[in-house]
Amino acid sequence: MTATEIRPTTDALLKTQAPKKPMNTGQFIRWLLLFLGGIAMVMPIAYMISTSLKWPHEVYNLKLIPDEPHLENYTYVLEDGRFYWWFVNSMIIAVITTVCNVIFDSLVGYTLCKFRFPGRYIVFIAILSTLMIPTEMLVIPWYLMSQQFGWLDTYWGIMFPGLMTAFGTFLMKQFFETVPDDFIEAARIDGLNELQIWWTVAMPLVKPALAALAIFVFLGNWTAFIWPLIVTNSVEMYTLPVGLSSFGDEADVAWELIMTGAAISTIPTLIVFLIFQRYIIQGVVMAGLKG
């Protein structure tokens, strides 16, 4: 399926076509079951947040609303500094990786889509083939490489494997197909060089795809676990998932504090979702239809 068919329809794909009539009994039961199911889906998140606001003595009761909600757990957890570093580390890594992916994946996608040159097909297939290689197969060589070049326990060490992704490249390549060649020709006649054409003409036309890519890459790196776990070894270099894992593992850490840590690592992405809900769901649809 080409992008041209998809682009105008992604929006329509999100809207229900269900009739605007009042509900009958059957429809009401359907709605009620869906509603209860949806509430059940968010229960783990709700309990995580609720417990992070509870005093230790009420952690083990089933009440969702704490008797006296308070932020002491957050102050306590952030006070000793670790969660603060881990948050900052995760943020720096996720932001830099996202910027890199947005630039390089779209540059490569654009080049493969709009330029005709010998070797184009080989480059395309080569990048495509890397989708088949699981990360887990590469962690050992990456670790050896990091050890050799002194990248262990550094930001660069955590980030380097994810600076470009084949998935992002193909997503962008598909979307550049929607940019008419005439626009690019016109810009060339106006005397813009190729770099300017890509950045000022083509990029603004694929903004929804860039937004979707940015959100996916950010989420992926924010929650990444196995590689940061391997490449970091000092507590100050941990990312949030690695830090939370070691924090939870300390023998007598209380569950309300673990829930607080979990909430600290989850709330930012939930906020991103609530703000950019539309883009994210469109992004999932686009990525799904490309797959």
Partner: protein, 295 residues
């Protein structure tokens, strides 16, 4: 010099200039390590000493290792439970959500929210839910209605499904959205024709909806299978006191790789396991594409 080139030649220069850094990246960070992993899998190496060539010894050792076969089985249990369960649940939700208008966006948001969470954070939340009385939420809830405790993570039978549940839960929202997009893409005229012919909605589901959803189903099956075969974050975090336990009953292949490489530092042996993982992913994806595309 550049000025004397034709437009076509200039384009070639630009194209390679744009691709220079990415080609370097893919070469050094993707292709070289892939080759290196395969190479190391034929060697014996503990990170400190020399790398010695041992041929197929790592693979022979692996196939003779009962732990490997246990882990291999676990990995497929994750796949064979996770993929069908999440496929059916997400289809049922998407099918009904698609026919619901009232608060449609809000309901969709509820189902999608878990997808935005971090696997590690949620593994800890679920781990707490699973604790015995008086700590765990599930057992407390059971106790309050007089049902005996359930040994979620303590039992060798139930630990694996317990670890799998949050992984399924987190992925459902994504699959629901993909299914809804697939359902929307089916032309309305098919349904209208069926309605005029007086076909029951059950027949419409089996004769029109499901066959036309095939590309969507193929995508979800392949995508979620790869995810379940590579499960790690949930298992590692829910069983940190005894990774993959109790008695290796939850240990997937990726956890075995992690322990062999970064606890035992047996790099050659771990690399052989990664090559096996790669082949498993490749074969499973190819078989699924074959079966689902043809039938």
């Amino acid at each position: 010099m550049y000025r004397n080139l034709t437009i076509r030649q200039k384009q070639i220069v630009w194209a390679w200039a744009f691709l220079a850094i990415p080609i370097l990246f893919y070469g050094v960070i993707r292709f070289y390590p892939t080759g290196n992993a395969i190479l190391i899998s034929f060697q014996e190496w503990n990170l400190l000493g020399d790398r010695t060539w041992t041929g197929l010894e790592n693979y022979q050792k692996l196939f003779a290792d009962p732990v490997f076969w246990k882990v291999f089985k676990n990995t497929f249990v994750y796949l064979l439970l996770g993929t069908p369960i999440s496929l059916v649940i997400s289809f049922v939700i998407a099918y009904h959500l698609d026919k619901t208008r009232f608060m449609h966006g809000f309901l969709r948001m509820l189902y999608f929210l878990p997808f935005m969470t971090s696997a590690v954070a949620m593994a800890w939340v679920w781990r707490w839910f699973y604790q015995p009385v008086p700590v765990g939420l599930f057992n407390n809830a059971l106790a309050s209605i007089g049902i005996p405790q359930f040994p979620f993570l303590q039992s060798t039978t139930w630990a694996l499904p317990s670890v799998l549940a949050p992984a399924i839960w987190a992925g459902l929202g994504f699959q629901v959205i993909i299914f809804m997009a697939g359902l929307r893409a089916i032309p309305r005229s098919y349904y209208e024709a069926a309605r005029i012919d007086g076909v029951s909605s059950w027949t419409v589901l089996w004769e029109i909806t499901l066959p036309l959803l095939k590309p969507t189903i193929v995508f979800i099956v392949v995508f979620s299978s790869i995810g379940f075969l590579r499960i790690f974050d949930h298992v590692f975090n829910m069983t940190t006191n005894n990774p993959g336990g109790p008695l290796n009953s939850t240990k997937p292949l990726v956890l075995m790789i992690y322990e062999t490489a970064f606890s035992a530092f047996d790099m050659g042996y771990a690399a052989a396991q990664t090559v096996v993982l790669f082949l498993v992913l490749l074969v499973v994806s190819l078989i699924q594409l074959r079966l689902l595309r043809d039938s």
